[in-house]
């Protein structure tokens, strides 16, 4: 056979990812209490056509669609990075308890009166880092930070503990001051303002960019500690970097939309099924795929029982659990 330059990426992946995302963006902008046709959506985006359509598309729906995409980007890319570093196809921020820790951090900050839209994600980041450290310590104490099942068990326990903390912290706080426990634990995009979207964009784009620059490092980390070291990686430092960046991404998404699980699990596994193994491509494709999955989930949340709105985290769990079970079977 002929051996040409390696690192080829299937074009079909990028075409599928791009087309899916565009279709879902137009659908997310067009579908709702008032339907706007795809053509009218595009016109409204350009500031043309019916003034009511322009208001609906640009002022009501666009911030929410962009928020959904950013949250999906953060969850998809951090899932891909965590899976590579931990060599665990079931790793993702929610199941590892990282998102839960971030939510506790954000809630604590809001309770003590930190309300700046830019600062809440940083408090969430602190909570996420504490959760990472706890999960790793717990897994190590149970005999295997490298055993996927032990690690997940530790993550689920820390996640449950975080949920309990949120319920306790918010028990006597008035909903006017702080969003309620349900908002945090079930996930929601209902709080989309351009200010929130703007800050989220800063954190998410920074996080994804930092992960992309560690693509080659992730490629070798995924081989195992010994092989990664043999191929020139400083394993300890590289692992810490990836954990911190993933925690930042999870924290940003949690402070903007609460706890949303399984996106970070589902998307990288689908992308890998396209034959993508290089992490640079995997992270970018998982970010874009995460955006698509969040748009789809939000669309379902808004339309399945309209005018009721279903909790977003419930929708992603319904999509994610079958994927988790399928993947679990292949773990041996």
């Amino acid at each position: 056979m002929s051996i040409t330059a390696t690192y080829r990426q299937p074009a079909v992946l990028w075409i599928a990812t791009g087309v899916t995302l565009l279709v879902l963006i137009v659908a997310g902008l067009g579908i709702g209490a008032v339907s706007v046709s795809p053509m009218a959506v595009l016109q409204a985006l350009a500031g043309q056509g019916d003034a009511i359509n322009i208001a609906i598309v640009r002022d009501l729906r666009l911030p929410r669609v962009v928020l959904a995409m950013l949250v999906g980007c953060a969850l998809g890319s951090s899932g891909a990075a965590l899976q590579g570093t931990l060599r665990n196809a079931l790793a993702e921020p929610y199941l590892l308890g990282v998102s839960g820790g971030a939510a506790v951090g954000a809630v604590l900050a809001l309770i003590v009166g930190v309300t700046a839209t830019a600062a809440v994600p940083l408090a969430a980041f602190g909570g996420a880092v504490v959760a990472v450290l706890l999960v790793l310590a717990l897994a190590r104490a149970a005999g295997g930070a490298r055993d996927p099942r032990t690690l997940l068990m530790a993550g689920v326990i820390i996640g449950a503990f975080a949920n309990a903390m949120i319920l306790i912290l918010l028990a006597d706080v008035s909903p006017e001051r702080v969003r309620g426990a349900l908002w945090w634990m079930a996930g929601s995009l209902s709080d989309a303002s351009w200010l929130r979207v703007g800050w989220l964009a800063v954190y998410v784009l920074l996080g994804v960019a930092l992960l992309v620059t560690r693509g080659r490092l992730l490629d070798v980390l995924a081989l195992g500690d010994d092989s990664a070291a043999a191929l020139g990686a400083d394993v300890g430092s590289a692992t810490r970097q990836v954990f911190l960046i993933s925690a930042l991404l999870a924290a940003a998404s949690v402070s903007a939309a609460g706890l949303i699980g399984f996106v970070g699990l589902v998307v990288p596994n689908i992308v890998r099924a396209f034959g993508v193994v290089r992490h640079r491509a995997l992270i970018v494709a998982s970010a874009l795929g995460g955006a698509s999955l969040m748009l789809l989930a939000d669309l379902l949340a808004r339309t399945v029982r309209a005018p009721l709105e279903l909790p977003l985290g419930a929708i992603t769990a319904v999509i994610g659990v079958p994927v988790f079970l399928l993947r679990l079977r292949r773990l041996r």
């Binding site: 051996i3 060599r87 995924a222 195992g224 010994d226 043999a230 020139g232 990686a233 290089r278």
Partner: protein, 265 residues
């Protein structure tokens, strides 16, 4: 390919904790270029710990590890990986990939973040696959390989690093006789081309045929080292392995051959 470099363990002591159990004590080993140096010894004698010491994954309590004149303990992991290609003892991929893509990871130490592999890299990758005989299944997935094929693919990745020193931890585990012999022949050719080849092995008889120098480890220390004829002495090996055995000299090939004995009832 540049010439080999001497790999030196200079009075090396390895321990997980500063005051803990010494996994290797005062090991002095010098592996010259153009030769195969085999590190042998019973399970737990410290062989693999030496490899992990080179990788920086095993704390070095005292002593130095040198590649030529470069102190590997002061070098970065990346600098180390450009001088020594290590094939670790075990490796299982969680995320399977194509054999060719896996071997190509051997070029990682030489590639910057945005670099595509150059024509030189592609040629080195192809050469590594040729020499370890994995070209026929370059397009297969790593989870579709037999244990022996996977072992050769891992060797190919180490060869793709194209370093002065090769350090292999049990390169012939899982291999049948033909592939075991083929692997040793490959390593002999690498040594002939000037490279320094160091391997940890359990297969004493084969090692005695191929190695220029044998280092026998016992209870964390170097118990004997030298040419196979000197180290492969029945008394020495019996003491180290705690098992009665005979060393005969095969008239056909002239190398010492080890025959473990049944215990008398």
């Amino acid at each position: 390919m540049s010439a080999g470099l001497v790999l030196t363990f200079d009075d090396v002591t390895l321990a997980y904790h500063a005051d803990g159990h010494r996994v290797v004590q005062h090991a002095a080993i010098s592996a010259p270029p153009g030769q195969i140096t085999a590190i042998v010894g019973p399970n737990g004698s410290g062989k693999s710990s030496l490899v992990r010491g080179v990788l920086g994954l095993m704390p070095v309590h005292a002593g130095r590890i040198l590649a030529g004149t470069t102190d590997l303990l002061r070098a970065t992991a990346r600098e180390m990986s450009r001088l020594v290609a290590v094939m670790p003892q075990r490796e299982a991929l969680v995320f399977p990939m194509l054999v060719h893509d896996y071997v190509a990871l051997g070029r990682s130490p030489f590639l910057g973040l945005w670099d595509a592999p150059s024509a030189h890299d592609v040629a080195v990758i192809r050469g590594a696959m040729e020499r370890s005989d994995v070209l026929p299944f370059a397009a297969r997935r790593t989870d579709e390989l037999s244990g022996g094929e996977w072992q050769r693919v891992r060797l190919a990745r180490a060869l793709a690093q194209d370093t002065p020193i090769l350090l292999l931890d049990e390169p012939t585990t899982f291999l049948d006789i033909a592939h075991e012999m083929a692997t040793f022949e490959t390593l002999a050719r690498e040594a002939q081309s000037g490279r320094t080849v160091v391997l940890v092995s359990h297969t004493l008889t084969l090692v005695a045929r191929f190695a220029d120098q044998i280092v026998l480890m016992h209870e964390a220390r170097v118990a004997a080292s030298g040419p196979p004829r000197d180290v492969m002495q029945a008394a020495t090996l019996e003491a180290v392995y705690g098992w009665p055995l005979v060393v005969s000299h095969d008239p056909a090939v002239g190398a010492p051959t080890l025959v473990p004995l049944r215990r008398p009832r």
